[in-house]
Point group: C2
């Protein structure tokens, strides 16, 4: 085979190898791109997943807090459910107790009074059942949480800062003062 022909053949093989190498490189590049693409896609998905996970945790936490808060609200609203109506009933109870002070001078009034005293007991009983209780005042140490001082006295029979008279009865609904006692306090 003449030298010239050999060089031509050699050149052709070299060219062929270059082409193949180029093709291989291209293919290699393509594959790297594809892997990179897939890897990017994976990173993106992992980011989305983490985001979704955090959001789920947040919504679950909000939900639990809401449940706890609405349970507490319901309990509080149940505990003091009758506050409005009891507050509105107190003036009638005051009038009732004033009306019962009368000294009967005849049998009919006496029997009416007895009937009314029974009604009054029923009313107080119904209120008590709901947690309504009168606040103790006379003879007690003055307590700003329970009593409202409207007058002062100087009475040796009582110690200082002791309630000597109750001008208007106070009431509590369970642990909540719904109306403080109006009292006269000793100096």
């Amino acid at each position: 085979m003449s030298e010239e022909k050999q060089t031509v053949e050699q050149n052709e093989t070299e060219e062929q190898e270059i082409i193949e190498e180029q093709a291989a490189a291209d293919e290699q590049q393509e594959e790297t791109n594809e892997s990179e693409l897939l890897q990017n896609q994976i990173n993106e998905l992992q980011g989305l997943l983490e985001e979704k996970e955090n959001k789920l945790l947040r919504v679950q936490a909000d939900f639990e807090n809401y449940k706890r808060r609405s349970r507490l609200e319901m309990e509080a609203s149940q505990k003091y459910r009758s506050q409005n109506i009891v507050t509105d009933l107190l003036p009638a109870l005051d009038s009732f107790e004033r009306a019962l002070q009368v000294e009967a001078d005849n049998e009919q009034t006496k029997s009416l009074l007895q009937g009314m005293e029974m009604v009054h007991r029923q009313l107080v009983e119904a209120l008590k059942k709901e947690g309504v209780e009168a606040i103790e005042a006379v003879g007690q140490e003055f307590d700003p949480n329970l009593h409202q001082a409207v007058m002062q006295a100087e009475d040796e029979n009582y110690g200082s800062n002791i309630v000597v008279e109750e001008m208007q009865k106070g009431y509590k609904l369970k642990d909540r003062v719904i109306r403080p006692s109006m009292v006269k306090v000793n100096q």
Copy 2:
């Protein structure tokens, strides 16, 4: 170059090519495996993401339902908050109204009665403010939602199925009957 040498060389190149091809194939296989792995990972992540998304939607829906339900419960519990205490007060109100029936035969009883009638009005006013109202009975068409028939009458002055007498007053709290009227109904 002797033919023998040429064949040896040729064999070597062919072997070389086979090895290269094998290496290329291996490399190709490896890349395919890697892509497959990445693709599997992507599918898995997409599955997880979908799962997380569904769970998030479910928790959000549960949360909204819970909010709506607890709001309705709170509204209902507020609307009928005084039902217990009102139900307990009714016997006292009954006794009160019976006691007020007395015919005063002297001034003291008359004045006590007037005082007690005022107290009674205050009580009824306080109950009314909370939505408590007496159920109309006498002269009304008998209504099983409002009235409880305890006796029957035959009275030409009334039409059939008309309430002729109220044995015990009934009460509603807003739109809820807390005690039906006990009545006598005309045949």
